[in-house]
């Protein structure tokens, strides 16, 4: 999109949600996997 205009714009909520989901889902996956690994520290090791 051309950005040289001073016309107001609106950031679609769907784009915002998609962007956060794209980074959030892998991050939650990584966190969950790491928490599972870290839990072994408290599992009588």
């Amino acid at each position: 999109m051309s950005q040289d205009s001073s016309q107001p714009t609106h950031t679609p909520a769907a784009l915002l949600g998609l962007a956060w989901a794209l980074v959030g889902i892998p991050l939650v996956y990584g966190l969950w996997q790491t928490v599972k690994t870290a839990a072994t520290l408290f599992a009588g090791g």
Binding site: T9, L16, L22, T40
Partner: protein, 466 residues
């Protein structure tokens, strides 16, 4: 060096009404990918076996990448600031992805030098450009909360390894049916690692390009709704002036911060580098440890979580406490924690874990608070380039930290027979380093006016809008 017009800074100036909360995911899309560099241990053993080389020879790949990170961030920092975040993210994506593809070719053809060139040199350049690419943009979009903004992005760098480790294990399981990650003696074949590199290179290319194409820079004079810079509580170290990257390195403030970052990172790496054997050695009884190998792996995972969490939490806290007091906590608090670790750390596992976890959270916080500290001292004008130059401290610490710890441990005995007392000299060296960093931070004063850019220069006016 000109960039194609679709990458130019002028093409990505946001129009009024643009939602700035689209910028953190753009930054995270880059940092989550390049954070993979801390997940190399997943395939280290496979590469040793595949190339028939030593752990050291394979470890060099990681070292080259970290050294290239610092060098490329320093060299390309000004280019990144001049051309904007899209050009930088786009370039970083190409280098980071190409690094994986060349590395994959090296693994597939049994050419270790190609792995050095690919992942180490080419990928390392992508790391450096990618690391600094969103920093100054985030600071400009969040002038009211720069610590929160940079904390979010640099937290992603910590999070990248959390994603890449399990993802890599899963992919190698698919590519090599004989590989069983649950079995510690199972090692994936070289061809599965080559395929892993190919896959990661393509995934990261798409992911980072997504960040490059949604990122925007604020228009001149833009500020968050309802935020008035003149109403912000004045802090002595927070400037409204601008200092160029070239001038910044002539100031004592830059080098004091360099020492602060170097000391903080070296001390943190001291624990991170040895985390798994260290917890077992601290609780060794004769030839066996009361901490099992699986629990030691859990300890490493826990440290990763605190490393990542510290990057966000402490950097955000610095918006309220101020950057200098925050580093006093990292360095002064770190000294006390290291002393406790050396003296009473072996008395209980929970105490050891707690002390190490907080130390690592300070290590992460030191990384993510640095850009906001630079912005306070030098302004937003060329903060990305200045940050790039500061990251050479990371490269130096990446060499010094393991050298100190391994050097001390080598004189104390053989791995597998060390006990808590053998770590004390290394831990007290870290206390000394943190003390040096603490003093350096205390000496930080506002930058002298002679280094400020003339306020009438167009570049300064343009970039200091935030």
């Amino acid at each position: 060096m000109a960039v194609p017009s679709f990458l130019a800074r002028e093409r990505i100036v946001a129009r009024p009404g643009f939602n700035r909360w689209l910028i953190p995911p753009a930054a995270l899309a880059v940092h989550l990918c390049i954070g993979q560099v801390y997940a190399t241990s997943v395939y280290k053993a496979a590469l040793v076996k595949h190339f028939g080389s030593s752990l050291t020879a394979i470890g060099v790949v990681f070292s080259i990448a970290i050294v290239m990170l610092g060098l490329s961030a320093a060299v390309f920092g000004t280019w990144v600031d001049r051309n904007g975040p899209r050009a930088a993210m786009f370039t970083a994506a190409l280098f980071w992805s190409a690094g994986f593809l060349v590395g994959s070719l090296g693994i597939a053809t049994g050419q270790l030098w190609l792995l050095y060139l690919g992942y180490g040199v080419i990928g390392g350049i992508g790391l450096g450009i990618g690391y600094i690419s969103p920093v100054s943009t985030l600071i400009k979009w969040f002038p009211d909360r720069p610590g929160l903004a940079t904390g979010m992005a640099i937290m992603g760098f910590g999070g990248g390894a959390l994603i890449a480790s399990p993802l890599s294990r899963q992919l190698m399981t698919w590519y090599d049916s004989s590989y069983n990650p649950a079995d510690k003696t199972s090692v994936p074949g070289g061809s599965s690692v080559a395929l892993l590199f190919l896959t990661l290179g393509l995934i990261y290319l798409v992911f980072m390009m997504f960040g490059a194409f949604i990122v925007r820079v604020p228009a001149d004079g833009w500020k968050p709704a309802g935020w008035d810079p003149s109403m912000v509580k004045h802090r002595e170290l927070v400037t409204r002036e601008s200092v160029s990257a070239a001038n910044s390195i002539k100031t004592p403030q830059f080098w004091l911060l360099w020492i602060v970052l170097f000391c903080n990172v070296t001390a943190g790496i001291g624990i991170l580098e040895q985390a798994a054997p260290m917890i077992q050695d601290f609780f060794r009884n004769g030839t066996t440890s009361t901490v099992a190998a699986a629990a030691a792996a859990g300890f490493v995972g826990l440290l990763s979580l605190f490393n990542m969490g510290g990057r966000f939490v402490w950097s955000t806290t610095s918006d309220f406490l101020g950057r200098k007091p925050m580093y006093m906590i990292y360095l002064g608090g770190g000294m006390l924690l290291y002393i406790a670790l050396a003296t009473v750390g072996s008395s209980a596992t929970w105490l050891f874990v707690l002390l190490a976890a907080v130390i690592i959270s300070f290590y992460g916080g030191g990384f993510s608070t640095a850009p906001a500290y630079l912005r306070d001292l030098f302004g937003t004008f060329q903060v990305g380039a200045i940050h790039g130059r500061l990251l050479t401290a990371w490269s130096a610490a990446g060499v010094a930290g393991p050298l100190i710890v391994n050097g001390v441990l080598d004189t104390r005995g053989t791995p597998g027979e060390l006990v808590a007392g053998d770590y004390r000299p290394a831990l007290f060296i870290m206390v000394g380093l943190l003390a040096v960093g603490f003093v350096a931070n205390l000496l930080v004063k506002p930058v002298a006016a002679k280094w400020h850019e003339p306020s009438s220069t167009p570049a300064t006016t343009e970039r200091s809008a935030a």
